[in-house]
Symmetry: C2
Subunit: 223 residues, 2 copies
Amino acid sequence: MIFSTSEENYIKSIFHLQQFAELVNTNALATEMNTRAASVTDMLKKLKTKKLVQYEKYQGCKLTEVGKKVALAIVRKHRLWELFLVDKLRFDWDSVHPIAEELEHISSEELVNKLSDFLGNPSFDPHGDPIPDKNGKIPLLNQQCLSDIPIKKIVTISSVSNQSAQMLEMLKHYHIVLGTQIMILKKFEFDGSSEIKVIKKNVCIISEQVTKNLFVHDIQKKK
Amino acid sequence: MIFSTSEENYIKSIFHLQQFAELVNTNALATEMNTRAASVTDMLKKLKTKKLVQYEKYQGCKLTEVGKKVALAIVRKHRLWELFLVDKLRFDWDSVHPIAEELEHISSEELVNKLSDFLGNPSFDPHGDPIPDKNGKIPLLNQQCLSDIPIKKIVTISSVSNQSAQMLEMLKHYHIVLGTQIMILKKFEFDGSSEIKVIKKNVCIISEQVTKNLFVHDIQKKK
DNA sequence: AATTAAATTTAGATTTGTCTAAATTTAATT
DNA sequence: AATTAAATTTAGACAAATCTAAATTTAATT
Ligand SMILES: [Mn+2]
Ligand SMILES: [Mn+2]
Ligand SMILES: [Mn+2]
Ligand SMILES: [Mn+2]
């Protein structure tokens, strides 16, 4: 089965929003897709006839098992291309998303698998997000939110949940990338900000907004 | 300026057909594009308003200077991606065309240039076709058609003008790839076929159809 | 020069994906 | 429970790209 770029983007967005709620409602999808609620309704009807989503009028939608498989295949492509762009073509990690947004719709299955081989069948993308394998299986990673880590413990940055260009730009300024080791020196109760030491680099203060969006794991865990 | 995939494919086809005639007529384009003459007419009107082609009713069309630039940029992308697929992802040279047909429409300029750097700014694609540079300049290559080469002279295969899957499959069977050195042993007047020696490999007989579609240069000329 | 054939264009439809404005349903509030 | 607000869907329109069938223009042939 072949899907249009638009259908694929909807499926991916629904998949993404399902992390936060069992049922995805029309307005949320419209916001995520940067379109209007009416357009979403039209598309949901189509995706329903193609058995990619369950959908009842006014009740929101969720992906079927088939829909989930399709979503995982697109996410796989997206993240493999992102890694290719960063590791091989030397793009910055904060500039690859929009390009991968196009590349993820190239259809050849053989291409994805050969790309994966070429990259050494990696498990994580440049933002620390897991790359589903050929069968849609996502590698587990037991990471914790930086805001839950006690002080004086050295941890490694493993992923960033807010991947806006603004966030990534700020992290770059602090010399924080995936794999960077840091230690929390002090937490300020007043505003929830933390003073951290970037190992071998600077000391700085980051806001609670930032610690809530950074995920870490214990040191010495291979990517 | 941004163009749709369809517009880009038309531009590329017109560029291709202009090699054979000053003016490209509607039916030829329809055949090349695998569509109907009526659709071509519609598109030509649009491309004209965008100043990519010169076009007068019933008179055929040709690319403007801007149109040519656009065409060369697409050809550049197509050939760079083809080389990437063969050299890096280890695709066979006879299977990359349809995939490059999709990849050539990815818009990022930075992507193309970084891809070119990654590949070592190559001048020829896996089929021996020249890759236009950033400015649309095409490297010259003084090659000759194999059918014009005298016997007993060692030459190197440099490009293949008929790139159908069937042709490429047959060449693979004869162990002929770009860079392969061959020598014509004998030409048969009866049907124009030639007996050739593939250096360090086999002796075989190839038809005139094949020799007319193979281009060669003198040995020891770097790719 | 008149006729026929071939090439090309127009007219009118269709599909996909989108939009605005209006109608409907569901949820929240008095 | 009635009213208001918010969310969602429908109706109707539009742009892009395509198609078929009919009309028109150009080229080829008698
Ligand atoms: Mn996308
Ligand atoms: Mn990512
Ligand atoms: Mn193409
Ligand atoms: Mn090629």
